[in-house]
Symmetry: C2
Subunit: 369 residues, 2 copies
């Protein structure tokens, strides 16, 4: 794949760890929330197997945290999501679809309830700050909204607990999935959640100070050595197989949460108030016409830059492929596609055109087994 110079400036920010990544040989970047995110170091496939077997240290500073506080903060956060957060508890994380007034997705963050009236929204790649401000400014809500300077590190993989215990002590083993708490390293408190953008288990460390973050980074690399820890980054093969959705790729502002398979986070029966409620009630009543599904395609290489049409044996469109990558585990391309409802079944075969040739594939459920 061709290489290019990539801008680093105030608009497309580096992270506190960029110099470390480059010294460890980062090979590719993407830009996410106006910031650089590494995509691989040496080999995407080697890093896939390594992530599933050992443990990696990721720079996920791009998961910018939008902090919402003030007496109307609970109201504002709830207005943006169809998930009922009325019973949300401090020290817990919530994965939520954020939706607009049409009931369509605008982001799918993890939300941390930090205090009774203070939330941190760890966003996917869209300016949630502006949606929140649009609402707050219009309704004259008593809230403060700002983007924090937090630079998140993630420790991901089956040996992540081993590494985390070496750094933060044995207490960390009591932290449960989607909970967070505060743990000390060199006398400084770090907020840590048991979460992350992989299905291999792990932790996210919310670093508020760049200097202590760099010390922490280097220390994790050092003590991680005996567990074969390596610098890594979210792995597109692992995330597609594991059905971790990517806002902007698998779904965007043209899709509603039912179409994205996020039904369990749509609480229409609760008496909460959110902006897309009427729209989603209508969708629920009328039913959806398409849904995100997995696909497997008998081909080795793909470089998907826009939706790819999938057709059945009669050339009828069955849906559109949105994310795809070669999987060394399945030895074929795996992907996530928006499939017309009548074709959403495991046995459904299709044809499509990749690298100027017709290839065949089949629909499968998510996550992939």
């Amino acid at each position: 794949m061709k290489k290019f110079e990539i801008s680093k400036n105030r608009r497309v920010k580096i992270t506190p760890y960029t110099s470390r990544l480059e010294s460890y040989g980062v090979g590719g970047y993407t830009v996410y929330n106006h910031m650089l995110l590494p995509t691989h170091f040496k080999s995407l496939e080697d890093e896939y197997f390594h992530l599933k077997k050992d443990v990696q240290l990721w720079d996920v500073s791009v998961q910018k945290q939008i902090e919402v506080s003030g007496s109307d903060s609970n109201k504002l956060v709830q207005l943006m999501t169809c998930r009922d957060l009325s019973g949300a508890k401090v020290l817990k994380c919530y994965y939520v679809p954020l939706i607009d007034g049409n009931g369509n997705m605008i982001n799918d963050p993890l939300i941390l309830k930090v205090e009774d009236t203070k939330w941190r929204i760890c966003i996917a790649d869209s300016d949630v700050l502006l949606y929140a401000k649009g609402i707050a400014d219009s309704m004259n809500l008593n809230v403060q909204i700002h983007e924090t300077e937090i630079s998140t590190l993630a420790v991901q993989g089956p040996k992540s607990l081993d590494v985390m215990k070496k750094v933060f002590g044995d207490d960390i083993s009591r932290l449960k999935f989607f909970n967070f708490n505060y743990f000390k390293f060199e006398g400084i408190d770090f907020m840590i959640s048991k979460s992350g953008f992989s299905k291999q288990g792990g932790y996210e460390i919310y670093v508020e100070n760049s200097n202590s973050g760099l010390k922490l980074y280097d220390y994790i690399i050092k003590v991680g050595n005996k567990f074969n820890l390596k610098p890594g980054c979210p792995n597109v093969i692992e995330r597609i197989e594991g059905a971790l959705l990517s806002y902007g790729n698998d779904m965007d502002n043209n899709d509603n949460p039912f179409e994205c398979g996020l039904d369990k986070y749509v609480n229409l029966e609760s008496n909460i108030e959110f902006l897309g409620k009427k729209a989603l009630q209508k969708v629920k009543l009328e039913g959806i016409k398409r849904k995100l599904m997995g696909v497997k395609i008998n081909e080795k290489n793909i470089n998907l830059t826009s939706e790819l049409k999938l057709v059945d044996e009669n050339k009828e469109t069955i849906g559109y492929l949105r994310s795809a990558v070669y999987s060394p585990r399945f030895k074929m391309i795996v992907g996530i596609a928006m499939i017309n409802l009548e074709y959403c079944k495991d046995s459904q075969n299709f044809k499509t055109n990749i690298n100027n040739k017709e290839v065949s594939g089949s629909v499968c459920s998510l996550p992939m087994n």
Copy 2:
């Protein structure tokens, strides 16, 4: 400068012209509005001189157009900006600061009034769509808001009119600065404005169909040959010297339009209603404490990735540098900096630290002469 692979997928989109750019040897990219924007081809400095002498064809598809229509569209557009648009006319373009309820910048687009109740907002790098939706959803406004599929080409440089006449006919010479109209190429109407992100004069062509856009691209390259037209892109040297502000670099959501020198677009005396009005009235009353200014620094190389502190002879902070590049015209670094008001004068000298050495510079007015 080191080179990297850069992701191309649905989240970070290519443009209809990306394959052409790569065949013409694009050397670097940035990401802007979730889309690839070239930063240079062979040499930034050669392209700077060429842009000021001849004419270039730019792919500026990243200037995404947010279309706002419906009976409340005039109200919504006005709510977002401090510039009085009550007298705005169809077929005219308006450069406007978009501001939030705190009176701080969220974007600085060119807005095109397309019909009496239809606007296109050609945005800088932030999701204005979400701010507009936040307001519209909260206030239950009768508007439709969507991101169009328009892929803008720009023809920029002193010979741009010569090229445009060859493509669209002599009528184009009647188009005045910051006006737009419709012109035919091969039987198809293209909306064209006399505008662009350079100070060298030029046009922006709003291409609604990728296929006709590619034909147009190739045709402009062909007929442009006799005017020494080359593929190009917004040039950071030219834009800094010309004081064309870059949202995210020179200013962001922490700055108000007075601090950005956009006073003439803040119409507090008019009776228009916009969300940041009270906040800006307060700023006006109290006065600003800092302002964007030009700077020149006696040094050859700079790679600015975050704000750089500038100090006076007594080590007092005078401001922070936000954009900077070496100018082959001034034979020193030129930049845009947020300077504390008492130091906003042409003769003000400062020191700063670049490439691990102390260097000296001076404040200057914008644009640079």
